[in-house]
Subunit: 155 residues, 2 copies
DNA sequence: CCTCTATGGTAAACTCTGTTTACTACCAGA
DNA sequence: TCTGGTAGTAAACAGAGTTTACCATAGAGG
């Protein structure tokens, strides 16, 4: 599944860019890179849809329905994702609901390692951005995005 | 106490957030809103995949293959998207390639109106963000994202 | 104690969207 | 003229998600 963008920069003035593209393009670039590096690091089989599960704050100890809600998808879709992740050896789900208990998703060792690696990759990306923009400006960027996060704008 | 991503804020410290989520979440929120408002404004039928065509700098006067490249998808997939957009009355493609000329995508009136509306919606979102963050900080945010855009980080 | 209802999970059919594979048409250059 | 490259198209296929429907459990009220 190639999400690759064009390889050249469009001949566009930055000041014309609207906030939509300014956020979307780097966000997608990060996601592509995350998946690529995860696979390259030996965590094979992980693809874009799996990221809906692996992303912060992670699925460990959480019920499938909650994960579905977080990811903004149906329980059924999430369930298949979890089945896939289970087949790949990244998570396990506790016993069937017929036993009366709610199911709980748990990381396997491999799953936890993948999650740790994911955070590492993101930290690496942050270091690169920090080097490119300068530490002060990168910190400012994160701070501003944090204020957006805390605001009602994104809900 | 389920913490839903879409309706409530997760109990998370902003400083723990990594750049991936900080960009992804608002980018997705904007996209959802864009599609919703476009539909509500009478531009029915437009869905998420169509946004790969309608997004800046727009398809007008461009060949299908170039649009495919821009969107990071195969020419076949783009072609079907364009067929869909054509059925919905937003674009037209010039005569078949058997006629020896390269096909060119053109907006219909409706298509151009949708594109104009899209920019309007985005400008509206920018105004809201500007009000929330303050004009100076919003300008700073766009400037910083522009520097990311211009850097090799996102390619 | 029994039923009714809400909740959580599961399963199958369907739909949408993209890729892969393969084909046709035109064009420019040896 | 032949040949390789470009542009577009078509059909088969794969995947990912939703809808519809169903089962099991737990808790509340009669």
């Amino acid at each position: 599944m190639s999400m690759s963008f064009s390889k050249e920069k469009p001949p566009v003035k930055t000041k014309d860019m609207l906030i939509g593209a300014l956020l979307r393009v780097p966000a997608e670039a990060i996601l592509r890179r995350l998946i690529g590096e995860l696979n390259a690091a030996g965590f094979e089989g992980l693809s874009l849809p799996h990221m809906a599960v692996l992303r912060f704050p992670g699925p460990d100890g959480v019920r499938p329905g909650v994960l579905a809600e977080r990811a903004g998808m149906s329980k059924q879709a999430m369930n298949r994702l979890l089945g896939s992740l289970e087949d790949l050896g990244y998570v396990v789900r506790s016993g069937a609901p017929s036993e009366g208990r709610a199911r709980i998703v748990r990381f396997t060792k491999r799953g936890r390692a993948a999650y740790v690696k994911e955070v590492e990759i993101l930290r690496g990306i942050e270091r690169e951005w920090s080097a490119e923009l300068g530490p002060r400006d990168f910190a400012r960027l994160k701070l501003l995005l944090g204020r957006v996060w805390d605001s009602p704008l994104v809900r």
